[in-house]
């Protein structure tokens, strides 16, 4: 009996000291967007190889879940595929958390259909009609007489919110199926002749079985594809969005080192390899301001709004 107690005590002491040691090393906890999870995981893997002793854990759960965790002090960085909501900022401030935003990549939100669907391009307005449930058959959009099956995300997803607020400007049809993540949407649309889905451009690197639709803000402006990096970066592709990370206050310590790595040319290259796009100059300038790297004084309130819902 005494032996067992001794053993338990030793294990407890050891694991406690191990915990302390871990806390001393560079531990960064990242949580949030399922759109970003794969690419941030990849970044973390490569970063950890180059920085032995640093530990970066990346988990998903959705942008809303990530931001809630940041507000509750349960993670260091929240991945978000949408802008933070005013309500969330308010909530954070009452808890003494000051959310700051870093933009790490650009996404062209891709609208996908089954490969056998003859429709290859739509306007933003058509996409809105689809998801609001205003059209029931592909015939109404000039396609076959196949019923439309909507695949979307669950309400804790940032992509769900972005789609609703920026693209549809209305409420989702109750008939939409809520899937667990981008990959599940791609799989479902592959099998469904009448299916349509929306996913981050990093999830359409492999297009077997699906069509990535060209989208136009207005037919007269022309249709563009989200897989074309130039069109997304220049904003010609109408549903582009920044992919963000939120921190509590200006980045410090290990989190700051990791963010600097993400924004470096090596980090941005990894992001492009994962199918998303490197950030253009305006966001680079914004990030540098926040990190205090451009020689400008580290202003408390930056001139960029981090509170607004600047999802587009």
């Amino acid at each position: 009996m005494r032996k067992i107690i001794c053993f338990i005590a030793t294990v407890a002491v050891l694991s406690f000291s191990a915990n302390v040691a871990m806390a001393k090393s560079d531990m960064v906890d990242i949580k949030g967007s399922d759109t970003l999870i794969n690419v941030v995981q990849k970044l973390a893997e490569i970063y950890m190889k180059g920085h032995p002793g640093s530990t970066i854990s990346v988990t998903g759960g959705g942008s809303g879940t990530g931001i809630a965790a940041l507000v509750n002090g349960k993670c260091d960085i929240a991945d978000a595929s949408r802008g933070i909501k005013p309500k969330e900022v308010e909530d954070a401030n009452t808890r003494g958390v000051d959310p700051k935003r870093v933009v790490i990549a650009i996404d062209g939100l891709s609208i996908i259909t089954n490969a056998q669907n003859p429709i290859t391009k739509l306007t933003v307005d058509d996409v809105g009609k689809l998801y609001r449930g205003d059209v029931k058959s592909w015939k109404e959009l000039g396609g076959n007489d196949t019923p439309i099956n909507l695949y979307g995300r669950q309400s804790n997803s940032g992509t769900y919110d972005f789609m609703k607020e920026v693209v549809m400007k209305g409420e989702y049809s109750p008939n939409m199926k809520s899937m667990n993540g981008n990959a599940q949407i791609v799989e479902a649309v592959k099998q469904d002749l009448g299916g349509v889905g929306y996913v981050g451009v990093g999830y359409v690197k492999d297009t077997t079985g699906i069509n990535v639709l060209q989208v136009a803000a207005n037919p007269s402006l022309g249709y563009f594809s989200p897989t074309n990096s130039m069109d997304v970066k220049s904003g010609k592709y109408p549903i582009t969005r920044p992919l963000n990370q939120y921190l509590n206050g200006e980045p410090k310590g290990a989190a700051r080192d990791f963010i600097i790595f993400e924004l470096s040319s090596e980090g941005q290259e990894i992001i492009e390899n994962e199918g998303f796009f490197a950030i253009p100059q305006e966001y680079q300038r914004y990030n540098n301001d926040l990190l205090g790297r451009s020689g400008e004084p580290e202003a408390k309130g930056t001139k960029y709004s981090v509170n607004g819902r600047d999802g587009n």
């Binding site: 809303g64 909530d91 309400s155 409420e171 109750p174 199926k177 809520s178 799989e187 099998q191």
Partner: protein, 296 residues
């Protein structure tokens, strides 16, 4: 020494009494918490609308948020009832086979294996729903996808089967041997003996088994979240997607701002779920008591 033992005895006695009371206190505590946390929602949403309206859209920004759990209630009920329709005949049949027909060798191997089935994590079963059951359903019925109430029912049936088989077999086995012998001696066949004598004699135990199986099915979250397609419209049948109460809580509780109507509404649907499982457990408890009296 004797005194010491006496103290030990009393201490252990007290410890387990405390444990038992603690469980009761936790149960009552959960019930009170659910009522207190869900009460504010009924100031804003009439109870009738909350229970019967089919539109659940608490995060609406372009229209008024709506809190109607009707379609979720129907969805939860359909998936559970569907699971029982599949699991009860299979479960009772297997139980009867194991208790009366199977050789001791077969029983010795089969019963533990069936009980292991109960230990498979629900995510794994949900995964099977996506990659295996879903595609099969869509092929058989010619549907564009297999994420629907039927898929959920099949998976929950698989999850409820071990409970039903195990408990129903116990019930059948505790029917006195003389019943079976008398029936066979009167010239009844094996089949007649099982259907007309043993199952009626064990019926309350079997009912309890089925109800406990259903309790498990209703409360299951991960499997249905993955396999039923989660669409919030009122289901038209077993081949349409449904969202259950448990899925809704799992999806939305993670990011709901505290102390808002949405937050209270999630507690309120939790309360409805609690009451549903409570009633089912009560029925199974009553049935079980009746059965214990009969066999005594």
């Amino acid at each position: 020494m004797a005194k010491n033992n006496n103290f030990k005895e009393r201490f252990i006695h007290g410890l387990f009494l405390f444990n038992g009371l603690l469980v009761v206190a936790v149960l009552i505590g959960i019930f009170i918490l659910l009522i207190v946390k869900s009460a504010p929602v009924f100031k804003e949403v009439p109870l009738k609308d909350f229970l019967l309206k089919a539109r659940w859209n608490p995060t609406a920004t372009f229209i008024e948020p709506s809190y109607g759990m009707g379609s979720m209630f129907v969805g939860t009920f359909m998936v559970s009832i569907g699971a029982l329709i599949i699991a009860i005949p299979l479960g009772i049949g297997t139980a009867a086979y194991l208790s009366d027909i199977a050789s001791p060798r077969v029983r010795e191997i089969t019963k533990p294996v069936i009980e292991i089935l109960a230990g498979i994590p629900s995510v794994v079963i949900g995964f099977l729903g996506i990659v295996l059951v879903g595609p099969v359903i869509s092929k058989i019925f010619g549907l564009p996808n297999g994420l629907n109430a039927l898929n959920g029912s099949i998976l929950l049936a698989v999850m409820a089967l071990p409970t039903i088989i195990s408990l129903a077999e116990d019930a059948l086995k505790s029917v006195p041997l003389s019943f079976k012998e008398a029936s066979l001696a009167l010239g009844a066949t094996h089949w007649q003996t099982i259907i007309k004598v043993k199952i009626p004699a064990a019926v309350s135990g079997i009912v309890a088994a089925c109800m406990l199986g259903m309790g498990r099915a209703i409360g299951e979250t991960m499997t249905v979240l993955m396999a039923t397609g989660c669409s919030i419209a009122m289901p038209k049948g077993f081949l349409s997607s449904v969202q259950t109460i448990t899925s809704t809580i799992a999806i939305e509780l993670g990011e709901v701002p505290y102390n808002t109507t949405h937050y209270y509404a999630l507690f309120a649907i939790g309360l409805v779920l609690f009451i549903m499982t409570f009633i089912i457990n009560m029925i199974s408890d009553i049935a079980l008591h009746k059965y214990q009296k009969v066999t005594k």
